[in-house]
């Protein structure tokens, strides 16, 4: 290779071989479900950040007494409150499950495609299960 820009994409593995560094995925070329899941991890993370306002509101309202707490409960029991809480629980448990896979990936395990196919199902199943469990505890 002659071009310095190409050379910058070349790295050396720990055993000394030259390899091309992987490029990031180009959405206009192809897109698959794992890419959507990866973006979903970010999106749910940002959504949860907004959700922490509700958590702090809950704590502050409770500390202020029955009046503030009942007002907050009333708001959370409107349809928009239920929608926000449902979205928040989905976002949270999804982020939680994908986060566990990220921690496993950090140890270098489960990187191969068959394992990714497997863990993808665990993540989706785990998210659904935890969301249902949360709402069962909350409403039953």
């Amino acid at each position: 290779m002659k071009d310095i820009r190409d050379a910058q994409r070349v790295g050396r593995t720990s055993d000394g071989r030259l390899v091309e560094r992987p490029l990031s995925g180009h959405l206009s070329v192809y897109i698959n479900f794992d890419m959507v899941m990866s973006v979903g991890h970010r999106v749910t993370g940002c959504a949860m950040a907004v959700g922490t306002i509700v958590l702090v509101w809950w704590l502050v309202a409770a500390s202020m007494g029955a009046g503030a707490y009942d007002t907050m409960s009333w708001w959370l029991r409107t349809w928009i409150g239920y929608l926000a809480l449902f979205g928040w629980t989905c976002a949270m448990w999804y982020h939680y499950c994908v986060g566990i896979r990220h921690l496993v990936w950090d140890t270098g395990r489960m990187y191969d495609l068959p394992r990714v196919n497997q863990s993808r199902l665990w993540i989706l199943a785990g998210t659904g299960l935890l969301v249902i469990l949360t709402w069962l505890v909350a409403l039953v």
Partner: protein, 135 residues
């Protein structure tokens, strides 16, 4: 990815030369590590907090006071808040740095996120302490 035999660098430039100016500012590791540490701490703390709050749904505020009034619960709620907001502001900072390309807007946004996380975290802790100690 190409086979190793296909690759050969002909440009006369050392690895060091190519790395200089693109490299780390030496704060990356602690950023990465704190993100991991807080996430590991949140593995048990998140379900604990969420399921406890879910169990308090529909109960009067006195039930919340009784639950937060337990020093162990108060300690764990504050630990959860500290980890969650630290994890959160690191994560949002990465998102801002990835998508906001104007230096001044990015800086304002990142500082705003840090300030908001910090204030929300303190508000939560003050509320917990008020219930736990103030009664």
């Amino acid at each position: 990815m190409s086979e190793a035999s296909d690759l050969k660098i002909d440009t006369r430039r050392s690895f060091l030369g190519r790395a200089i100016g693109f490299g780390s500012s030496n704060t990356g590791f602690s950023f990465w590590w704190m993100q991991r540490l807080t996430s590991i701490a949140l593995l048990p703390l998140t379900p604990w907090l969420v399921f406890n709050i879910a169990a308090l749904v529909g109960q009067p505020v006195t039930a919340v006071h009784a639950w937060v009034g337990n020093p162990i619960n108060a300690t764990l709620i504050i630990a959860t808040l500290l980890c969650a907001f630290h994890h959160m502001h690191l994560g949002i900072q990465v998102v801002c740095e990835d998508y906001v390309h104007t230096d001044i807007s990015r800086m304002i946004l990142v500082l705003f996120v840090k300030a908001a996380s910090f204030l929300l975290c303190i508000a939560g802790i003050v509320a917990v302490l008020k219930m736990a100690i103030g009664g």
